[in-house]
Subunit: 174 residues, 4 copies
Amino acid sequence: MIAIVVGTNRKNSVSRQVANYYSQILDQKGAENRIVDLVDIPDDFVGTALYENNGRNESFNTLREKVQSSDKIVFIVPEYNGSFPGILKAFIDGLKYPEGVRDKKGALIGVSSGVQGGVLAMAHLTDILNYLGMNVLALKPKLAGIESNFTDGKVTNDLYNQLLNDQANRLIEF
Amino acid sequence: MIAIVVGTNRKNSVSRQVANYYSQILDQKGAENRIVDLVDIPDDFVGTALYENNGRNESFNTLREKVQSSDKIVFIVPEYNGSFPGILKAFIDGLKYPEGVRDKKGALIGVSSGVQGGVLAMAHLTDILNYLGMNVLALKPKLAGIESNFTDGKVTNDLYNQLLNDQANRLIEF
Amino acid sequence: MIAIVVGTNRKNSVSRQVANYYSQILDQKGAENRIVDLVDIPDDFVGTALYENNGRNESFNTLREKVQSSDKIVFIVPEYNGSFPGILKAFIDGLKYPEGVRDKKGALIGVSSGVQGGVLAMAHLTDILNYLGMNVLALKPKLAGIESNFTDGKVTNDLYNQLLNDQANRLIEF
Amino acid sequence: MIAIVVGTNRKNSVSRQVANYYSQILDQKGAENRIVDLVDIPDDFVGTALYENNGRNESFNTLREKVQSSDKIVFIVPEYNGSFPGILKAFIDGLKYPEGVRDKKGALIGVSSGVQGGVLAMAHLTDILNYLGMNVLALKPKLAGIESNFTDGKVTNDLYNQLLNDQANRLIEF
């Protein structure tokens, strides 16, 4: 099972749409998958699901369990303030430790309005996931200028599509 | 005015104690300062103070204003899951954009139980603060093994004390 | 005195041309400066100027002295293999330790053919320079797609010019 | 075939000794391996084997071919000036592009006299190797304080030995 994590709790995010698209790519390849959208995170989780409260928020537990019980995890990583949204790291901070993502396989996709495509965000996230014991695929597509390369639920940029397909194939074999 | 940000919302955190200690160092040097402890962040701020809700949570605004109206900011950065706590980035994500930390001066102090002293956490944070336009002091003390180097509200390690004093002097002149 | 380091030993590099242009910007602002082009590095310096041979290669010493005797240093950083050229770090490895760049002020400019503008290269370099005690300006212009934004010795992109001028002003006041 | 790259051209380096030790670990597991020590790099390679001269230095080619013809590569990464030695990146810059390390599997081991164990060096190197298409194992042992944990050609620290063995097993299966 592959979990696709939408790395922001913004409502109706572009990242969610990219996740939907990636889910279709995996479907076409016959790879079972499900989306975990951080928009579903309980608003108060930073006070009820971290540190000494880790594991005590049932609603948060339901969300994290979808990640923890998957053996491969795709992160849709929107660039925000020069890195990824803090909420994504806070979500990771709320996972079961140490087994949360340990020994799982990860794939990262950067999304940005600007030209960077989340390159620094994905570098930071790779450091964190590696630290936690998750192997991360080298191929991390950078979907820069997403607004002009995504229409009607589909990535319209040929290079981007090639990279996403290539990555999905590699993840399935990883 | 120097704001000292405690980079976690953990209750009774070691980072808070380090902040208290650093505040005394600044006091002794005659530098006006105040502590902003993320333990005071509203539990639901990720749902009420980010993105389209930026600026709409009065309680969060009070907290961020203490940072935004300071011209120098010290970040006490506990190492957590190979970087800093997600809550710290989420707090930064909730600042007024783009003027939140732009053109301010920053100083970082890493804190860890283990041997790293938050080196990677501070590298990530420097990337983010630089991106947002904050100049960050090169000297970033790494307080590794904090439990055995901090007693009764004081840092007991001579090297650490020397680095903290040196940094405080530099920040005042920065 | 401001040293402008061309961060590659490639002959007739674009980075050198950017350095020439930046030198003119500084000239116009009345800031004394000189260019240190790594193309002038002795070919055998990795065997004659590092580790136990540090300081023993006169030709290398002449080059490094231009950097070490400057109080502000600009690095023109071409993106190469996802970071900066190894030669730049090897040059830094050959500086006098620990005073090489310690307590100096630095400014970074990324240059790339592609869309990244050296963002990761500059993040890595900032880590290294900060480690060595150099304060680095937050503003680090990313000159992506340099071939189409640089003609006849001049940057033709208005935003790039604005950023370079802004950075130069800040460096002079830093 | 697994290549073990000694990431410095320092003579009689500790990294070389760690490479010898790792080679024995792989031998015991029946995994064919060979050491590529950057001490054997031609002193003038930065002038004769990079950019337009890529592939033209036969002596350098012999060295790089040992890496390029291996499908798994271990990097022994000594911490130097807050990252890895510039020579290591310069060596990578001299590899055949783009196939040098693309689609190969990598494992990193940090070595330092100090307490960091090369954590930042390995983060930078991971960025570069991932950029070039090499998948890197999450487990990256940090051999801090190497002088007091390595005697008579052997790592004497139990935790370090456990990590190195664990990593070697994972690399063989990677």
